[in-house]
């Protein structure tokens, strides 16, 4: 017995030590990003480069907002991420209700098809999707990107919501049906209000997935008017010359929305992520 508690104490100290190492490993890149964005060019490059900014300045940020299309990129990312979130919420609520509550032939098959299509990676699909969007003249449009993003967000959201809807007690719904409420009525009045945390998680996932997406945005968009932040950032490299100051500023600012959302939704996010694993 004594040896076990002794080992536990040792493990605790090893744990604390490793925790410090992991915190450093995790946080140093963020430190470097923010520190760079606050430096003058003189401190960023060459022999006078510093590890800690000596004369912090916001000039990179003024350059970012004044001379680059950064604001446009932000606007485009916001439009596309919000559009995608709304559309996938709508599709997912309806579809998940059918899969969780209604009886019809082919239900198992459709549920399986959804999971499979969520697992098919975008890197297999972008080449033919390019042709699809070209035929629909949706290259270089917000709608085009929103549509292609639905391809991964709708299956995921539907699958996640299906799991949550199943946990809403049937009795409430039965009572409403007996009282003359329609099927869709029970969805809107009973299931949705009881699944608000799930809806928040689903909205969070589709928003951040669209905000962070890179491959489709890179292939299906060429003009500044539609370009999103992820692809716009890589264009701060002009002819192999990097503008690291403004770029790190832009990187910091555009990480903020998904990171802040993550911090707000933390607990639910973990639940959503582990649903597949924990339930299986």
């Amino acid at each position: 017995m004594r040896s076990v508690s002794g080992t536990r104490r040792a493990l605790k100290w090893i744990g604390n030590g490793l925790l410090v190492v992991m915190l450093v490993w995790t946080l140093v890149p963020f430190y470097w990003m923010i520190a760079t964005s606050l430096k003058k060019d003189k401190e960023i490059y060459g022999f006078e480069a510093t590890l800690i900014p000596r004369q912090p300045t916001l000039s990179n940020y003024t350059r970012l907002f004044g001379t680059t299309p950064f604001v446009k990129y932000l606007r485009n990312s916001t439009i596309i991420a919000l559009g995608n979130t709304l559309a996938s919420l709508l599709c997912a609520c309806l579809g998940a209700y059918a899969l969780a509550r209604l009886r019809f032939p082919g239900r198992g098959l459709i549920a399986r098809g959804l999971v499979v299509s969520y697992l098919v990676p975008p890197s297999l699909l972008f080449i033919p999707l390019f042709a699809v969007l070209a035929t629909l003249s949706l290259i270089d449009t917000h709608q085009g990107l929103i549509l292609t993003y639905l391809g991964f967000s709708v299956p995921f959201c539907t699958w996640l919501l299906m799991g949550y809807f199943r946990t809403v007690p049937l009795e409430l719904e039965e009572a409403a049906l007996v009282d003359g409420c329609s099927r869709l009525g029970t969805l809107v009045r009973i299931i949705l209000p009881m699944s608000l945390p799930a809806l928040a998680v689903v909205a969070f996932f589709s928003f951040t997935q669209s905000w962070n997406e890179f491959l489709y945005a890179n292939v299906f968009v060429n003009s500044v008017e539609v370009r999103t932040i992820t692809t716009g950032l890589t264009l701060f490299i002009v002819e192999d010359v990097f503008f690291w100051g403004p770029m790190m500023g832009a990187a910091f600012l555009s990480s903020l929305p998904p990171v802040l959302l993550y911090l707000v939704f933390q607990r639910w996010v973990v639940k959503g992520l582990t649903l597949g694993g924990v339930k299986g």
């Binding site: 536990r8 590890l51 098809g113 990676p121 890197s123 297999l124 049937l170 099927r183 959302l261 992520l273």
Partner: protein
């Protein structure tokens, strides 16, 4: 379970089932048919999205890989010629090897670090929630930004790493992290691990916290050492989560081109070239859409196995 409950609803919402035995099944099938129609109507938007954004493109990719299609020009049927050409191509063979190394090493490291991180966060400690929130932040940052940030850390002349090593006299010459053929792959994998570890520790931690404490107490009374407790209580309980996370992550790791795209562009001398990036470069750099589709599909047979296994796992709580 769910199906039986539905029967109850159908019986109550349908017309009250009175009358002879012949009438009953017809009425029931009528409600069923209505329910079916409603279900199909509700599923239409989802179905259309999956059909046009996943199903059709996927079939089209297979078809395209059998053609010599270029950007902006119609293709001709060439059968397996694209695939045959690939297997004679030295860059492709190197890419195949790279992809395997990249995926296996990255997934293994993420697993080990993720499990360590989860075990540490499962210990009792003040401010644990705060530490957990910090450690998981990389998960939320867009991969492109992670990669750009690290490219700047690895920068030859002014990056953090060289700057740090020289300032503290740990190295007296500049190390070309991303353009040294011996180092490039290691650096790319380090970034993949940095960004991917939180997903593992999130799922593992959730699993750890679901293990009842009594199991450990019982094992301790039976004289099990801490290591024995880990292997006989913790590991068996987390087995499912291990499998699911590793399979999911293998798919996403193997098919993500963003790290390589931003960090090295596949260089130096194809040392970090992997399938998704090669497919991208073939289709959009060299404008050979057919060949690009072939490159992206070569890996697919491996993915199919993972997708089938995962689908079964992810739908297990439901009825089939």
């Amino acid at each position: 379970m769910a199906i039986r409950a539905h029967d109850a609803v159908a019986d109550r919402s349908g017309v009250v089932p009175v009358g002879s035995a012949e009438v009953r099944p017809r009425r029931k099938s009528l409600t069923l048919r209505r329910e079916g129609q409603l279900a199909y109507a509700l599923l239409t938007p989802t179905f259309l999205v999956v059909l046009f954004m996943v199903g059709y493109p996927f079939c089209s990719a297979i078809y395209m890989s059998l053609q010599d299609k270029m950007v902006g020009a119609p293709g001709h049927w060439v059968g397996m010629a694209n695939y045959a050409e690939l297997f004679r191509d030295e860059v492709f063979l190197r890419t195949a090897w790279n992809s395997v190394v990249y995926t296996v090493v990255a997934v293994a490291l993420k697993f080990v670090f993720g499990l360590t991180m989860a075990l540490i966060l499962d210990q009792e400690r003040r401010f644990n929630n705060f530490f957990r929130a910090l450690l998981f932040v990389p998960w939320a940052v867009p991969v492109v930004i992670v990669s750009l940030n690290w490219r700047w850390i690895f920068d030859d002349l002014s990056g953090f790493l060289n700057n740090f090593l020289i300032t503290f006299h740990l190295s007296n010459s500049i190390i070309s992290w991303l353009s040294d053929p011996a180092l490039a792959m290691g650096c790319v994998i380090a970034v993949v691990v940095w960004a991917g570890t939180p997903l593992y520790s999130m799922t593992f931690l959730a699993g750890l916290q679901a293990i009842p404490r009594e199991l450990y107490e019982a094992a301790e009374i039976d004289g099990a050492s801490v290591i024995q407790q880990f292997f006989y209580v913790t590991v068996p309980r987390l087995r499912t989560i291990f499998l699911t996370t590793v399979m999911l992550s293998t798919i996403w790791t193997a098919t993500n081109l963003q790290f390589v795209f931003v960090l090295t562009r596949g260089g130096p001398a194809s040392r970090t070239e992997i399938f998704p990036h090669l497919a991208f470069m073939t289709a959009l750099g060299a404008r050979r859409l057919g060949m690009g589709a072939a490159v992206s599909l070569v890996f697919f047979p491996v993915l199919v196995v993972l997708i089938v296994l995962l689908t079964r796992r992810m739908l297990r709580p439901s009825d089939d």
